[in-house]
Amino acid sequence: MSARPKLDYRAKSHLSYFAYVCHRFSGLLLACFIPLHFLMLSQSLRGAQGFEKSLALTDFWIFKFGEWALVILLAVHLAGGIRLLMIEFGPWKGLRKGWIQTSILFAITCGLLFLYFAN
């Protein structure tokens, strides 16, 4: 005897749901990161040398990886957000699946561009 089945991955295996998960996940992580980002930037109040010293923290690879991940999360959240704005405010053209595919490409491009420019 067990409990009746609930909605599982089979019900949610479609592109629009995937877009929702990406958007929620990226938004949550960005909300956690942004205050830290502002905290680091506010070290500029210490003047150029003080600022440089606190920025030295970011030389550790974990920060570099974090920065790269955040650029991608930002790109994902931006593209997914524009899709939602189009769905909610624009003329109805379905679930904008073409836009989801473009968003994924956009995020990958941003990630690659970051790697290219940063090195």
């Binding site: 005897m1 909605l7 991955y9 479609h14 629009s16 749901y17 877009a19 909610e88």
Partner: protein
């Protein structure tokens, strides 16, 4: 076509129960409803299930097939079969009466909750209402009025699953078609009913409803329309008043 029987797992019980496996011979052009019917008629007469028209018009036969809500009379086994097994369960998000039959009362009560019914102020003594067929409102209403209340969208929605009082895609879609009915006189009450956590603002545009609707209705569009309408009414007012 393979000659091995189908291994069909069917939910037996109600809120508690188990999947019981039956062996069903394959046939060409077999639908999932054919499979369930075979089980009940030839293998186990105690199986409870619902159907009516069996030709894709009434929506009574909706069930969860391999995890996805579908009309079983319109689902060919050959189209969805993985290997040689099938899993058939009752629609999600609705209480189970027995086996594959669910209690649809909360689904229809939510239509009422969303003011998903018409009320006009004309009588038989007045002239016909003139609704311009090419008007924006009529076109918007047209897009959603073919709903037959089958429950597939409701059963597919994760928000319905996590928020017991969420009105759901079908009720909100119906409410939207009525906000576009120029004869209706309850628009302010309707807007109050569909705003808030139980209403359109709980929708996260996951799109499962639109993805699964067997009539290709798009509740996501209707709910987006309601969000805009309600926001405008709350902030600036509408032609029926301010929220």
């Amino acid at each position: 076509m393979s000659n091995t029987d189908l291994k069909v797992k069917v939910w037996r019980g109600s809120q508690e129960g188990e999947f019981v496996e039956y062996l069903v011979p394959r046939n060409p052009n077999q639908t999932v409803l054919d499979v369930v019917t075979y089980i009940q008629r030839k293998l186990d007469p105690t199986l409870s299930y619902r159907f009516a028209c069996r030709v894709g018009m009434c929506g009574s036969c909706a069930m969860t097939v391999d995890g996805v809500a579908r009309w079983t009379c319109r689902t060919h086994v050959s189209q969805i079969l993985q290997g040689d097994s099938l899993e058939i369960a009752p629609l999600n998000n609705l209480p189970v009466i027995k086996d594959l039959a669910t209690d649809m009362r909360e689904f229809f009560n939510k239509w009422k909750g969303a003011v998903g019914f018409f009320k006009g102020n004309q009588t038989r003594h007045d002239d016909f209402a003139k609704v311009e067929p090419h008007s924006v409102e009529r076109q918007l209403a047209n897009a959603g009025i073919e709903c037959i209340g089958c429950g597939v969208c409701y059963a597919s929605c994760e928000v319905v699953e996590s928020r017991p009082n969420y009105l759901g895609p079908a009720a909100l879609n119906r409410a939207w078609t009525l906000t576009n009915d120029v004869r209706d006189i309850q628009q302010l009450e309707r807007m109050y009913a569909v705003a808030g956590d139980a209403g359109c603002h709980a929708c996260h545009t996951q799109g499962s409803c639109t993805e699964r609707c067997p009539k290709a209705i798009e509740p996501t569009a209707s709910i987006a329309g309601l969000k805009k309408l309600v926001a405008k009414a709350a902030v600036r007012g509408s032609k029926w008043g301010k929220l």
